[in-house]
């Protein structure tokens, strides 16, 4: 039995500890998800998510298991957040926002940008070698990253949140936001680039000497995917 099947069985059996574990693990992510559709209001997003948990509790016996448990809960949150935004007359028009953001001139590469010949305009200094998990466990780094996410233009923030933080797949994100696949991918790339640039000054490791990386390492960098 998978972890998810075990969790579902425990929830259906009324196991309160399992429910608490699920709520603690998912609540913050779901609030972040709801905020996308609630124009950033944390209070409204909190209400939407609490309401969604109640719908999860009453819907447990009807849940068919077709979608993953997490995706099913996220779907409930998205529906409720959208309904709430519509009721408040505060729907976020993502296709329009995407068009605006994509019409704005791209800033390729962010800092350091490019020289005339297509090479980087400055050096790209390596980052601190700690694992991503260790890095986000650092309170300063985490605060900095969360602040950078907040400053992204709304459509880029939505796509980065759904794709990279919530890890929904591409077609699902396009459906939720009403975007084409091409637009979604450009927004995702621009958002990621801005976040990289925002993290760069903090994570640079000037003590690492350049040129130490063996050339044979290049393939590993190219192959190593972040999944999809």
């Amino acid at each position: 039995m998978t972890d998810e099947a075990t969790m579902l069985a425990r929830l259906r059996a009324g196991d309160e500890a399992a429910f608490t574990t699920l709520v603690r693990a998912e609540h913050g992510r779901l609030v972040r998800l709801a905020r996308i559709f609630c124009r950033g209001s944390r209070a409204t997003a909190e209400e939407v998510v609490q309401d969604s948990w109640l719908a999860v509790i009453t819907g447990l016996d009807r849940y068919t298991g077709e979608a993953r448990l997490g995706a099913w809960i996220a779907g409930i949150v998205v529906n409720k957040a959208r309904t709430r935004a519509a009721r408040d007359g505060r729907m976020v028009p993502f296709p329009d926002l995407a068009r605006e953001e994509l019409a704005a001139p791209a800033q390729p590469g962010d800092p350091p940008g490019f020289a005339e010949d297509g090479h980087w305009a400055g050096r790209v200094d390596p980052w601190h070698a700690a694992t991503p998990e260790r890095l986000v466990a650092d309170r300063e780094v985490l605060r900095h990253l969360l602040a950078a996410i907040e400053t992204l233009p709304p459509a880029q923030r939505a796509v980065v949140t759904l794709r990279d933080i919530e890890q929904h797949d591409g077609p699902e994100v396009c459906r939720m936001l009403g975007l084409t696949d091409g637009n979604m991918r450009v927004l995702l790339h621009r958002g990621r680039s801005k976040l990289r640039a925002a993290l760069d000054p903090m994570l640079r490791a000037p003590h690492l000497r350049r040129g130490k990386t063996p050339a044979g390492d290049a393939g590993a960098v190219a192959e190593g995917a972040t999944g999809s």
Binding site: G14, W53, I57, P126, L142, R196, V221, T226
Partner: protein
């Protein structure tokens, strides 16, 4: 061979494994001689990995208590 600007432009496809085989060779050839692009690509991957690794934010204790109560109310018997 690719230049750095092309690497940047195609980074999204690269990270999401959408590059065709021919394109991958052009990219590898560039990465083999460009420490800046190697560093930059690592940073893009690290950025995505950090987003995926954001720590959970549990609800406020009173919210959690309310939700647990609602869950208990559902329990048969």
């Amino acid at each position: 061979m690719w230049n750095c600007r092309q690497v940047e432009e195609r980074a999204g496809d690269l990270l999401d494994r959408r590059l065709r085989m021919g394109e991958r060779f052009g990219l590898w050839a560039h990465l083999a001689v460009c420490p800046d692009c190697r560093a930059w690509l690592r940073q893009m991957r690290a950025t995505v990995a950090m987003l995926r690794a954001l720590p959970p934010e549990p609800p406020a204790p009173e919210t959690e208590a309310r939700l647990r109560e609602a869950f208990r109310a559902r329990r048969p018997g």
